[in-house]
């Protein structure tokens, strides 16, 4: 086998990696907004639940979470297929980190803006969605970009619960060919290229959001 022949299985794995990464970024973003908003809520129960969720998933290693969902949960009768498990755990992890980004950005909206909204008699939820969120979401983008890359890298761990992602394919190839240097170099380059695409997409979204004269500040200011 030459390195050209490695490409087919690696590409197959890369597809799985991209699929899992995109799915868990998507669900993670939903969780991030839900938990981030709940964290800033004045409802104690809601913010309490969100706090526990964030602390649990930020405070424990991803690999422990993965194994826990994969090996431990079936012992008490809850089991999913590996791909569902992988996407669920990665979404929960990304959501927990994202929740802190959302919360931080919401808290960074100048209090004067909230006072103006109050003086105009906006309801709390109207203020959140029409005053705070449009301003906060732009501030979240750089951090979300980093989280997306982190998520992509984290997907490599799903190979350990038998999902045939890029890392898993690399492992199988190595075991067959024993050509470690080539296989892993190609794999790393593969991840790097996916990461570059992901970064490009995130920058593009940020640029779209930042477009127009409303926010003349440059990115990352």
């Amino acid at each position: 086998m030459t390195w050209m022949q490695y490409l087919a299985p690696l590409l197959k794995g890369a597809q799985v990696t991209v699929m899992i990464s995109l799915a868990s970024i998507f669900f993670g973003a939903i969780l991030a907004f839900a938990a981030g908003i709940a964290r800033t809520s004045s409802n104690r129960v809601l913010s309490g639940i969100a706090f526990v969720y964030v602390v649990l998933f930020r405070g424990t290693p991803l690999l422990v979470q993965l194994f826990w969902f994969y090996y431990a949960l079936p012992l008490i009768g809850i089991s999913f297929d590996p791909v569902t498990t992988g996407i669920t755990v990665l979404s929960l992890l990304t959501g927990a980190f994202g929740a802190e980004v959302v919360r931080g950005a919401l808290l960074a909206v100048p209090p004067a803006q909230l006072e103006a909204a109050r003086a105009l008699n906006f309801s709390k939820s109207y203020t959140l969605w029409h005053v705070s969120m449009p301003q906060a979401i732009i501030e979240m983008m750089p951090a979300f970009g980093n989280l997306a890359i982190q998520n992509l890298k984290d997907t490599a761990l799903v190979s350990l619960i038998s999902i045939a992602d890029l890392t898993f394919q690399a492992q199988s190839l190595r075991n067959i060919t024993l050509d470690s240097a080539t296989v892993y170099t190609l794999t790393l380059v593969g991840y790097f290229m996916i990461a570059l695409c992901l970064m490009f997409v995130m920058r593009f979204i940020e640029m779209k959001l930042r477009r127009g004269p409303a926010f003349p500040r440059s990115a990352h200011s």
């Binding site: 006072e115 103006a116 109050r118 105009l120 309801s123 109207y126 029409h130 301003q135 004269p213 409303a214």
Partner: protein, 267 residues
């Protein structure tokens, strides 16, 4: 005339600091009142309490016959959103730092609240906004964003935004303090025109003494959470009774000796 605002023995504390101490104050319907005094004297706090931005600890406060306390006796800041909503529908506020929404165009800034809160139809709200923008002479900027306007222009939009909600009481919290000196005039011009409106009650916190004298029906001098002296502008500025008032006014006019004559001459 009937009073539209009534403070009765209102006490407001920030922690150990008492900002308003058994404060009593009434404003008549349509009256234009200027609040002056050194910073930290509590004048802005009066406006912020009226706008429900700050709670107070003791006393009674009524606006247009509605108590800030809910009938069931709970304090105003444990009052339901519904009750606060009712109070705020009478009051508008213009802030020192304008506080326009940066992500909305000028027109949208003005239209947003009438549509979202008053449930006005959008085209109706827009024609009203157009009218207001003409009034503040900024119709040509309606599609600009706040960051593209000068401070004076932003403040004029903020005044239009507050007026779009048709408040009975309009509060101005140092509306020109954040502006470059050459931009102060255009904002004062707009406020001066508003002061002609008969049934709009205005409370104005400002350091523009000449302007206060010109537009107000009554001037109140605040010091340490109390009104030390108040009266009609002519009498207040030309013949202040209290030494503390004289001292304050003279410091403002850059005079060494706080004599009544020198005050009169400068004005």
């Amino acid at each position: 005339m009937t009073s539209i605002i009534r403070f009765e023995n209102v006490t407001k504390r920030f922690g150990a600091l008492t900002v308003l101490d058994n404060f009593n104050f009434e404003v008549q319907r349509g009256e234009k009142v200027t609040l002056i005094g050194p910073s930290g004297s509590g004048k802005s706090t009066v406006l912020r309490i009226l706008m429900t931005l700050e709670p107070f600890q003791e006393g009674l406060l009524e606006i247009d016959g509605i108590s800030y306390h809910e009938p069931n006796g709970r304090g105003p800041f444990k009052a339901s959103e519904k009750h606060l909503h009712k109070i705020r529908s009478n009051v508008g506020m213009v802030f020192q730092s304008f506080n326009l929404f940066p992500h909305m165009t000028v027109l949208r800034n003005i239209v947003e609240a009438p549509v979202a809160v008053l449930k006005m139809k959008r085209d109706e709200a827009e024609s009203r906004a157009t009218e207001l923008l003409r009034m503040v002479d900024l119709y040509d900027k309606k599609d600009h964003f706040p960051s593209q306007l000068s401070g004076g222009q932003q403040q004029r939009v903020a005044i239009a935004r507050a007026l779009a909600m048709r408040p009975r009481v309009l509060l101005f919290d140092e509306p020109t303090s954040a502006l470059d000196p050459q931009l102060v005039g255009e904002v004062l011009g707009v406020i001066r025109n508003l002061a002609q409106e008969h049934d709009l009650t205005m409370l104005l916190v400002t350091h523009e003494m000449r302007f206060a004298r010109e537009v107000s029906d009554r001037v109140c001098f605040f010091d340490k959470g109390r009104i030390v002296e108040q009266g009609g502008p002519e009498q207040f500025f030309s013949n202040p009774q209290q030494p503390r008032t004289r001292e304050f006014l003279s410091s403002f006019l850059g005079e060494q000796a706080p004599s009544r004559e020198s005050l009169r001459r400068v004005q």
